[in-house]
Symmetry: C2
Subunit: 239 residues, 2 copies
């Protein structure tokens, strides 16, 4: 039981925690989604305040294995993936997977800021005007820029997988990004369909993986909602 | 010569490249700052378009060693630090250093967005109203939150160094963050002086390290300016 994987993340959203959940689910490796049980959020807050020895996390998601606590989604995946068989053994391929995951992190932070361009402490309704303005630039400039980069990276890697011709956590993460964008920006994503052919095919292949399909159909997969990273506000979307 | 370290970054700013420059300078390990020589930016653009085998970087800074190209500042430092003697050998301490560097990356992205809350493609002057609104929340909420976290992390680690009681690249990076904030938000940083005592002492110790002091006095250290990540716009600062 010393090697129990405990994931700490907000219980009501997919958010950044979902990238880690998908890795565990795909690998079929047991993990405890701590905050979804009674008292879990209080345990999370204790760890944030420094209840475990060493460096405390600033924010969820974070992982706890024994007394080792590690935060930052991409760092957690970089640590976990070799243990879960979700990245090749070659250290340079692991670094390239990590580079892509960090670029995904940049991308989703920008996607988040379309609905929160002024402050995370304000409601969306209190920054709606700025959100509308930012969303235009996101849809017209940033979204095609990032997706074009990932589409080309996938093409260069052979079209099926991002890293080393093998299924990795980066494929899982890209599935999550594409799902989130399709939920938040359905009109814009439709107009980009031809330019994201490989990414959409990858999304479909990941969704069809038996363990992922079972997970998506389960109650463990939280539905998207307007407290999440990806939010559907029709006024922020356009073809 | 196969192991020459080539750094690719914009030649006129400190920016994110500076975190990598500081690591090389402190270690006293030679590196080529490619874009500061004639034709360097063109070489950088070729690599971004995929001139080297494997994964291409989306954006600078990136490192090239032989034919291995690695992007994302924090990933580059995670790769380089053991080679430069700037992190302990323990893998968990390396992951904690990386976690802190990624939290620094989140922080500086927010600092950047105070002057660019709407779009990187627009001039500051075209998003000044939104910038003023965002800067209030950054100064009053995010800046104390992040600095409070780093101050406590430093205190918990013994007060001198962030990781394992040893000098690491995280100390160098925090020096850069504190320098950038002092330039961009001098009034606010002054009002936070008491709450950032350990961070400011660390900043002073790093600046006094012989190789860093020599670097800061050299022409290799670019002066801060209003094309950089940290910009001084007096209207965005307040006590």
């Amino acid at each position: 039981m010393g090697e129990t994987y405990e994931l700490y993340y907000w219980p009501g959203i997919q958010g950044r925690g979902e990238f880690i959940r998908l890795a565990f689910e795909d690998a079929g490796v047991p993990y405890v989604d701590v905050c979804r049980a009674r008292g879990g959020v209080a345990r999370m807050e204790k760890l944030r305040r420094g209840a475990a020895p060493g460096l405390a996390p600033l924010a969820p998601p974070f992982l706890k294995v024994g007394d080792f606590v590690l935060a930052q989604t991409a760092a957690v995946l970089h640590f976990l993936a070799p243990r879960l068989g979700l990245v090749p053994e070659d250290p340079r391929q692991q670094l390239h997977a990590h580079q892509l995951q960090l670029t995904i992190a940049d991308f989703i932070a920008e996607a988040h800021d379309t609905h929160h361009p002024i402050a995370v402490s304000l409601y969306y309704g209190d920054q709606k005007r700025e959100a509308k303005r930012r969303a235009v630039h996101f849809r017209d400039e940033r979204l095609p820029m990032f997706l074009g980069y990932f589409e080309r990276a996938l093409e260069r890697a052979g079209g099926e997988h991002f890293i080393g011709g093998a299924h990795t956590y980066v494929d899982l993460s890209m599935f999550q990004v594409m799902s989130g964008l399709a939920y938040a920006f359905p009109r814009r994503m439709k107009s980009l369909a031809r330019r994201t052919r490989r990414l959409r095919a990858l999304q479909g292949r990941v969704a069809a993986r038996p363990r992922i399909a079972a997970y998506l159909a389960s109650e463990r997969r939280l539905p998207p909602n307007e407290h999440d990273l990806f939010r559907h506000y029709p006024e922020l979307d356009a073809a």
